[in-house]
Amino acid sequence: MSGVIEVRNLKKSYGSLDAVAGIDLDIHQGEIFSLLGPNGAGKTTTVEILEGFRSRDGGQVSVLGVDPAVKGAAARHWRNRIGIVLQSTQDSGDLTVGETLSHFAKYYSNPRHPEEVAVAVGLEEKSKALVRTLSGGQRRRLDVALGIIGNPELLFLDEPTTGFDPEARRAFWGLIEALRQDGTTILLTTHYLDEAEALADRVAVINRGKIIETSTPTELGGRATALATVSWKSSNGVQSERTANPTEFVKSLSNAFQGEIPELIVKRPSLEDIYLEMIGGADE
């Protein structure tokens, strides 16, 4: 089977709260899969069960063909094949970037070269710098470097670009793209819908412990076929029209204006619009 992650009817409750209320997931070899959902939707619980950090109450889970609840030597062999980038790690920072990477490389059977990883995340200039002297974005890149140092088949990325400036975020997306080229399967959780849209092959929206829909970013929530909004400026001010046939509509507008349409905008719902609608709808 090509399923890197296979989840059937996963359940987890805390007291009377069903944090995860029967989830199915199939994540394939080599894809970037993004899990979207508001805080408290069951996203973190699901991911932490997949990472082997939490126990589950019911359902079947297979990650790289192994149950994440595995213990002992088998757990070490399993962890040897995965990489995890947690939300935030603040250690004392008394080691250099190079020392930290070289040390973590020792944990794995077939690690990537520390210098090569430093280059991949753009920290090659910082190799001799103490971790405590890094900026927030640089620390985050070090977190990612530690996640990929073991040459993982599967990488968990939890909110990787929180606190990044737009330029750093673009650079980071380039890094994730490069990992995809190498065939790494990635499970990405993020609050940034543009990030999911730029990176993910498929997304799943989770709310109240259930998956509402799994689709590609462009097709989620019927986005590809949703009505487009055409807006323009007439002598009466800004006008707008929702239409299923924007091309036809623009053509007729152009005819009416005899050429250039003032301040023309044709807009499809963004992933964020669709997502908010889905989450809002689920709240009813």
Partner: protein, 265 residues
């Protein structure tokens, strides 16, 4: 491509090197850890000018207590404060996500404690001999006792420190939970006073804990054998000391493994 992960021991030794390197870079804490017992020795050696029976100086008597409580500070106290912070900052959780097992983490901490203890004791003895007229034992058997006390003492102190690190709820609050325990134990165990001059009930409470036995063991190393008569049992009780410390070591390892938490949740 092999899928053979390095052994827990190999990784433990690598972690030990890393822990020492990290520790050495925290300069204030290195100076404090190494100098604190010497400062205490200086204070007590200056306050109590009288010599005890048989011409033994108070500094000589006090060296035993300083080494014993150094074992408790370097192992138990340091780890019970450091580990909750590592847990709070997420570095433990990150470690959990790697193939390194908990045992490698424990081995690394043991190496850190043992090495910093060895350096600390060496400095204390050198300073004691040069500045405070401390006499080192000439009997090789006393050095044998000294060695097993340091080895078992630091191992037990490490294990109990890891076990107690599960008690504080937060990294920031750890010091407030741990320090009073250590200070009370030090007073009860006769680290700062002549043990046999303490009230009987204090001596009995102290006898339940390892620090009293470490201190008594160290007295057997640094004091003339005529002092054995002054001990509660009228002898050094080396066999019982070894037994009690070994029991605490086993209990410490058991508790450390059973209660260890990678995560705050």
């Amino acid at each position: 491509m092999s899928n053979k992960v390095p052994s827990a021991l190999t990784l433990g030794i690598a972690r030990g090197g890393l822990e020492i390197r990290q520790f050495m870079r925290q300069r204030e804490s290195v100076v404090f850890t190494m100098a604190f017992p010497i400062i205490l020795l200086a204070i007590f050696g200056s306050v109590f000018k009288d010599t005890l029976e048989g011409g033994v100086t108070f500094a000589q008597y006090f060296v035993a207590g300083m080494i014993a409580s150094g074992l408790v500070n370097t192992g138990f106290q340091q780890l019970a404060i450091l580990i909750p912070m590592e847990r709070e900052f997420g570095s433990l959780k990150r470690l959990r996500g790697t193939p390194a097992p908990a045992s490698s983490y424990f081995i690394g901490k043991s190496i850190l404690v043992f090495v910093s203890m060895a350096v600390q004791v060496a400095l204390l003895l050198v300073a004691g001999v040069i500045f405070f007229g401390v006499n080192l034992p000439s009997d090789p058997m006393k050095w044998v006792t000294f060695t097993w006390l340091i080895v078992i003492g630091s191992a037990a102190s490490t294990a109990l420190g890891i076990a107690f690190a599960s008690v504080p709820k937060s990294g920031r609050g750890a010091s407030a939970v741990v320090s009073p325990v250590v200070i009370v134990l030090q007073f009860f165990s006769g680290v700062f006073f002549v043990f046999t001059q303490l009230p009987g009930w204090m001596q009995q409470v102290a006898a339940l804990f390892p620090l009293k036995w470490l201190t008594q063991g160290m007295r057997s190393v640094f004091l003339p054998d005529t002092y054995a008569m002054q001990e509660v049992a009228g002898s050094w009780e080396s066999g019982r000391t070894l037994l009690v410390l070994t029991l605490w070591l086993i209990a410490g390892i058991f508790l450390a493994i059973r209660t260890f938490k990678w995560d705050r949740a």
